[in-house]
Structure formats: structure tokens, C-alpha cells
């Protein structure tokens, strides 16, 4: 019975993944179509979706970096400071996952500047929290939590 339930769960998850892939693909197609008519308005969005897609598969690091940078540049050129901030934020998370904390910090700082210009204090606060988490010896939040657990001995409980 448990195997069966597990299989159903797996099928559900697989269906969900397939559905998500379709949604992403549809969004990329829509942005490609829109960018063909107005590169100014839509290229940065297309590049960001592509970057996130490549980053998601974790296969081609160089390609993901190039696409994030292209999205940031395109948003900057078009004056879309909010989407420039978003691209910087996503690039920072990408580098953070790859444990390149120096790059992650640079992108988080850029994102914070963009959100400040945009005037979104909730996004500035969110990025600041991420930056604060990066600060102690550039460890990710999860690593710091782990270290604290070990120090206070919660792991042995």
C-alpha cells in the first residue's frame, strides 16, 4: 500500500513538474514573441527567464552567468530599474547556491541599490536581510544555523 501511495505521490509530483515546465515554456514563447516586436520592453524579461531556466538545470554555469548579465544590462538600458533589481537578486541567489559569496554579495548590493531607486522598502529590507546573512565570514544562512546548532549542542538532542 505504501509503495502504491508513494508511486501516486511521485506521479503527482511528476505531473506538477511537467505542468511547471509547460508554464515556463509558454512564458518564454510569449516573451520571445513580444521581444521580437519590442526588444526594449521585453528582452530583459526573456533573458531572465532563460537564465533561470539554465540555472535550474545546473548544467551550464557560463551560459547562466551570461544570461543573467544580459538581463541586467538590458533592464538597465531600458530604464526598468525594478527588473534590473530583480535580475541582480536572482543572479545573487544563483551565485550563493554555487557558494561564490563574493559575487553573490556584489549582486545583492546592486539589487539593493536598484530597489532603493525604485522606492520599494520591502524589497530593500529583504535584500538587506540576505546581505546580513552573507556577512559573517561569508557563510550562507544555512551554514551559520548549522554552526550554531553544533556549538550549542542541539544536534545531540
Amino acid at each position: 500500500m505504501w509503495l502504491g501511495l508513494n508511486a501516486v505521490d511521485l506521479i503527482k509530483k511528476r505531473k506538477q513538474i511537467n505542468k511547471s515546465k509547460e508554464v515556463v515554456q509558454a512564458a518564454i514563447v510569449a516573451m520571445k514573441y513580444a521581444a521580437a516586436n519590442s526588444a526594449w520592453n521585453f528582452t530583459n524579461k526573456l533573458r531572465l527567464l532563460e537564465a533561470e531556466q539554465v540555472a535550474h538545470t545546473r548544467t551550464n554555469h557560463d551560459r547562466a552567468s551570461v544570461l543573467y548579465e544580459a538581463s541586467i544590462k538590458s533592464a538597465k538600458r531600458s530604464g526598468f530599474v525594478h527588473e534590473q533589481g530583480l535580475a541582480c537578486e536572482k543572479a545573487a541567489f544563483y551565485y550563493q547556491r554555487g557558494r561564490n559569496y563574493q559575487k553573490a554579495r556584489e549582486y545583492f548590493q546592486q539589487a539593493r541599490e536598484c530597489y532603493q531607486v525604485w522606492g520599494s522598502s520591502i524589497k530593500v529590507a529583504f535584500i538587506q536581510k540576505e546581505l546580513d546573512g552573507l556577512n559573517p565570514d561569508a557563510l550562507p544562512v544555512s551554514a551559520v544555523t548549522e554552526a550554531v546548532h553544533i556549538k550549542i549542542g542541539t544536534n545531540s538532542l
Binding site: 511547471s20 515546465k21 508554464v23 515556463v24 509558454a26 512564458a27 518564454i28 510569449a30 516573451m31 513580444a34 516586436n37 519590442s38 526594449w40 520592453n41 521585453f42 524579461k45 531572465l48 527567464l49 533561470e52 531556466q53 540555472a55 535550474h56 531600458s78 530604464g79 526598468f80 530599474v81 525594478h82 527588473e83 534590473q84 531607486v117 525604485w118 522606492g119 520599494s120 522598502s121 520591502i122 524589497k123 529583504f126
Partner: protein
Amino acid sequence: MSLRERFDVAAQIPELYFNFYGRIAWRFEPFQAGIDKLRQGFEAGLSSGHADMGLHCAIQVIKTTILSGANLSSILKEIDYYLHLLKTYKSEVTRNFLRVFRKTVSLLIDNGEATSTAADPCIGVGDLNDQNRKLRDAVLQHSVIRCYWSGHNERCRNFGEKCKHLFGQGRQSTSYIAQFFFGKLQL
């Protein structure tokens, strides 16, 4: 547009600008390019007695400034200015759209903590009764945008599912942005 200069169609400017700069031009021109023209359409509408069309231009001004990433506090001021004018010019349609936009902007600034007003509505999809569903569509799309930025991923996904039918041909600019965020959320 060149025909407009050849013939004297001053009275049609608000409608012309609303349709061209609000509905068509963003497909091939920068979002920012139409904003000033739409403001002109708004002013021309009010001064020539075509207030309804002028106010429609005002809706497009705000919609486009949000998409173009203009400073949120400036947008909020402009929305409040238009809402103030609506004490004189009665237009329930404009008021409702501006309230939806105001809620989005206020949430993006500070989660509505200091910028929301008592007049901000809780326009839900359920209590919308507009004939051609334009306001309902705007509420859904803005809900996707709001939830994405504020990190409410599950809610964003739900609203995205609800407005999927708007991600088709002949769509408006906001539906492209909503689809972008909905797609982005899956990654």
C-alpha cells in the same frame, strides 16, 4: 499620428491617444514613450469636455508607469491626484481601476503599512460585476504581480492559474507581465 496633424481633430485627441498609446504603441515602442502622450490625452480630455476619455488616459498613465519601473512614491502621488480629481469628475470605472493600482503600489512600497488609506478597497474577484470583465482581469493580474513581489508564491500561483485564460492573443501589456511572473515563479 501624422493625419492628426494634417486635420484638425483636437476633440479626438483623448480617444486617439488612449487607443494608440494605451493599447497599441507599447507593443513596438518603449513603455516610457507613451506616458507623456497619455498625460496630454488626460489634460486634453478634461479641458475639452471629454472627461471620461481623459480619465481613461489617466488609467493608462498609471498602468504604464507601474510597468516602466518609475519611482513608486511618485506613482502613488499621481494616483492620489487623479483620485482627488474624481471628487469632481464622477467615474466609478476610473476610481476602481485606480484603487487596484494604488493597492499594488502601496504594497510594493511598504506592504501598505504607511501608504495605504482607508479609501483603499478590498476589491476581490468575487464582488466584481463589471460587464466586460476588464476590472476583474486587472484585479487578477495585479494580484499575480503583488504576490510575486511580496514573496507569496502559493497565492501567486493560484492567481496565475486563474488568469491563465488572459495569456492569449490580443492581450494587454499587464497580461504579458503577469505571465512573465507566473512563468518565473515556476523556476
